[in-house]
């Protein structure tokens, strides 16, 4: 019954979305306000209707309504209530519905918030966003419907999944459900898909604005680009959180001691993130200087197209990946939609190409404009390299009938120098000024951090003589870290001296009154912290493996592991657990007991390796139980990793999030913002800075 309500509201949502798209186009084209209003109302209905569908499906998952094929597939009585709810995005059909629902939510917010602003753009924004939503809702209705039921046709070997009963069929309700893929029962995986989806779907809004601006020819005015910037930031931050959570999940669950493996599915997420990051920077050029208009539109199109491309390759299995996504029937429809989006946006872009001229020319190669352009090129170069590596197996298979997978070595080699140049630029670019070159300023403001970072690197080099390649990387990171700190310090000193504020007050006010600028610095700080984590992973990771009898030990670096005991017992959620107990010693001193284990999920026939981790700010000791003897406790195999600096990745992720919150915070006082941004020459300041 409830499932029927969910299904019908889904169908009505589809009709509303199609109508909303068509009526928006007609209304915009003929400038008919009544039609536009009607389209808007229909589009606003899509979100509540889909909400009803989602609630119905969650209810079915929670109450284990196995008459639905989807519920029987991913839910099961042994799962806790919370995990059953997260099964909404644990399978194909549910996750596409979830996806469509989030997208409809974004569109609804835009329609409500910006209904009166951007009056000429709105019909087309509505049309483009609704067209995309209609596509995804259509996929849910016609191709992968979570409300489809299981039917038994007498004489047939397999059960049929269909919405309506095939002739002569009887409904079939399985006694038990398959349950959610055990790998997905982890907090990282519970948070990772929703945030990733929010990121991917969120990019539809900037894209719709860009398309609307091209269609109406309003792309010369920059009003729309401000709206777009904020929406891109929203989508971008969700995608960033999704990336970090995905890495954390891989680290905790996949059991290979790493967090980023350059797998196609990971690349699929990284590419739109790179293009989106480039856009968030270049959009400042348009806001401040009216430059790079074509480029911005290209970047928006690219960001959105890459997120569609990423969804396509992960959902259809076109590019083989170690991630197990099921093959599905939505490939052809998806391909048609991607083709429409790519070609449609390209045609529109060409049609308006001449309108999108810059208002200014680049005036100096050391100006802030030049820094932004360089930064954009670097981001795109990384995106192109990642794209190339991702589609390479497909191309070689087409041309030579041989699949050549390039693997992580390619990605590491190509992207590492580019990433580090970007990090370096992050430290230098804030020193440059709009329009003019400022080499002299560069020397003055960067001198002290430069010398200090050299000192740090020298100290580091002395301690880690065997890893010379890490010196350059560490120098870049420490230099940029100090540079960002000095930006803060500069602003703080002005306030502390001029206004007699103490440090915390000055810091609070400084950030509050220039939230975009200092939010940006905080984001940069987060990025540098993540870079530090990657240095640890690239240069200082150690691993070893050995089979131990009880009482035997395994040593790696300053840590020693002693195998104490092995237990087998039945765990919750229908799993059989094999758990080892091992004592960890640091330079002979007992630290704590680690319990790496292997959970075997009986129904799904799937094992999950759960590492035993001892985590410190400096490094993680990460121990896996990879094998054991059937009887007794005299032969268990352990893998042991030392992962230095890895926690900086997670801390960097939090810092980045904090930075986005600061920079996206609504402005409180405009007047003071201008004032602090342009501090006049003050005697007190020069006196102190001189001494």
């Amino acid at each position: 019954m409830i499932a029927d309500i969910g299904f019908f509201s889904l169908v009505i949502a589809f009709i509303m979305a199609v109508y909303g798209t068509a009526a928006s186009v007609v209304g915009g084209w003929r400038s008919r306000r009544a039609t536009i209003e009607s389209a808007r109302n229909a589009s606003l209905l899509v979100f509540p209707l889909l909400t009803l569908s989602v609630v119905a499906l969650v209810y079915a998952l929670y109450t284990l309504d196995f008459s639905l094929a989807y519920v029987a597939d991913v839910s099961s009585p042994v799962m806790s209530g919370f995990v059953r709810v997260t099964a909404l995005w644990g399978g194909q059909a549910g996750s596409v519905l979830f996806w469509a629902w989030l997208m409809a939510g974004f569109v609804a917010v835009v329609l409500v918030r910006n209904g009166e602003r951007d009056r000429e753009l709105m019909p087309y924004v509505n049309a483009i966003a609704m067209l995309t939503t209609a596509f995804f809702v259509g996929v849910v209705v016609f191709i992968t419907n979570p409300f489809a039921r299981l039917w038994y046709v007498p004489g047939a070997q397999d059960l049929t999944v269909a919405l309506l009963p095939p002739p002569g069929a009887m409904p079939y309700i399985p006694p038990d459900g398959g349950g959610l893929n055990p790998l997905l029962r982890h907090f990282g995986m519970i948070g990772h898909p929703p945030t990733t989806y929010l990121g991917f779907t969120g990019f539809v809004i900037p894209f719709a604005y860009a398309m609307a601006a091209l269609i109406t020819g309003k792309c010369r005015d920059d009003g729309w680009i401000r709206t777009t910037r904020r929406w891109t930031l929203v989508a971008w931050v969700f995608l960033s959180i999704g990336l970090v959570l995905g890495g954390r999940w891989a680290y905790d669950v996949l059991g290979w001691g790493g967090f980023w493996g350059w797998d196609p599915v990971e690349n699929a997420m990284l590419m739109p993130w790179l293009a989106g990051t480039a856009f968030l920077h270049s959009v400042m050029m348009t806001e401040k200087r009216g430059m790079l208009k074509r480029w911005n539109i290209v970047l928006i199109i690219l960001t959105y197209s890459l997120s569609l491309f990423g969804t396509f390759i992960t959902r259809t299995g076109v590019i083989s990946s170690v991630h197990a996504f099921g093959k599905s029937a939505l490939g052809p429809a998806f391909l048609a939609f991607i083709a429409l989006t790519f070609i449609g946006s390209l045609v529109l872009l060409f049609a308006r190409w001449e309108t999108l001229v810059s208002e200014h020319q680049l005036e100096s190669f050391f100006s802030r404009e030049a820094a932004f352009v360089l930064q954009n090129m670097l981001f795109l170069a990384i995106a192109v390299a990642v794209f190339w590596g991702t589609v390479f197996p497909l191309m070689t298979e087409l041309i030579t009938n041989t699949k050549i997978t390039v693997g992580p070595p390619y990605f590491k080699k190509v992207t590492t120098p580019l990433f580090f140049t970007l990090v370096l630029l992050m430290g230098l670019a804030p020193l440059s000024a709009w329009r003019k070159g400022a080499v002299d300023r560069l020397g003055k403001a960067a001198g002290l951090p430069f010398l200090a970072s050299l000192g740090i690197t020298a100290g580091w080099g002395y301690l880690h003589r065997m890893h010379p390649a890490s010196f350059a990387a560490l120098w870049v990171v420490s230099f940029v870290l100090l540079r960002i700190d000095s930006e803060f310090w500069k602003g703080l000193r002005i306030r502390m001296v001029n206004r007699q504020e103490n440090l915390p007050v000055a810091l609070g006010k400084l950030v509050r009154h220039n939230h975009r600028r200092y939010g940006g610095y905080i984001i940069h700080l987060g990025v540098v912290m993540i870079a530090l984590g990657f240095i640890g992973d690239a240069f200082f990771k150690q691993e070893t493996q050995r089979t131990l009898a009880v009482g035997e030990t395994l040593t790696l670096g300053e840590y020693t592991l002693r195998f104490d005991d092995l237990q087998m017992y039945a765990g919750s959620d229908g799993r059989e657990v094999v758990e080892a107990s091992a004592a960890l010693f640091r330079e002979g001193e007992y630290v704590r007991q680690l319990t790496p284990r292997r959970d075997y999920f009986v129904t799904q026939k799937q094992p999950v390796t759960v590492p035993g981790v001892y985590s410190t700010p400096g490094k993680d000791v990460y121990v896996l139980l990879v094998g054991w003897e059937d009887i007794g406790t005299n032969g268990s195999t352990f893998k042991m990793y030392l992962n230095p600096l890895i926690n900086w990745v997670w801390a960097g992720g939090f810092t980045l999030l904090a930075g986005v919150l600061v920079s996206a915070w609504p402005s409180s006082s405009r007047r003071e913002t201008t004032y602090v941004l342009k501090p006049g020459p003050r005697p007190a300041y020069s006196e102190h800075s001189g001494g």
């Binding site: 010369r220 093959k327 391909l335 991607i338 997978t405 075997y600 990879v626 195999t637």
Partner: protein
Amino acid sequence: MNDTEIDPPAAPPTNGREDRPFRWSLGRAMAVVGVAALIGLLGWGLVQAQRGPVEKGMAPDFTLTSFDGRTLSLSDLRGQVVIVNFWASWCPPCREEAAYLEQTWRKYQDRGVVFIGVDYVDAEKEALAYIDEFDITYFNGPDTGTRISTDYNIQGVPETFFIDKTGVLRGVKIGPLAPPELDNKIDGLLAEPYPGP
């Protein structure tokens, strides 16, 4: 004031460029060709992907030369249960299953089971280091020209195919193996009678 009509949009400041007709240029043509090629590539990939790995019927025959120069043909192994494991040294999930594979091989090697490691798209030096690291003792060789992996249409690495005593494919595991999966599979296949060639 007519309320049903929107005010006509104010004309944007022009500099005489807006009215220029659309013209083809090399850059535009390249962009169109590039996009079309990408879509074509994805479409072709989609067709390939829908085929999926070979799962049923006779296992495609192959001859593999091991890293230490021995050769082995699948067709010579009738009467024995064969486990074909595709792996690569650059593949993290392969490392996850490596110890278990070797352990299972040692357990079954005298009971009519053959393990074959097929190293997929790899460099010999790294591959040998990997074999050394996990102390792998079963037959292992590089898939030169990715011929074997193409025949089996593998989806990625690791991927493991289970072949019964008569040379028929009896299943495939995409992704890493873990205890007691492989043991169960081998026990099942070993229990089957072999009627002879």
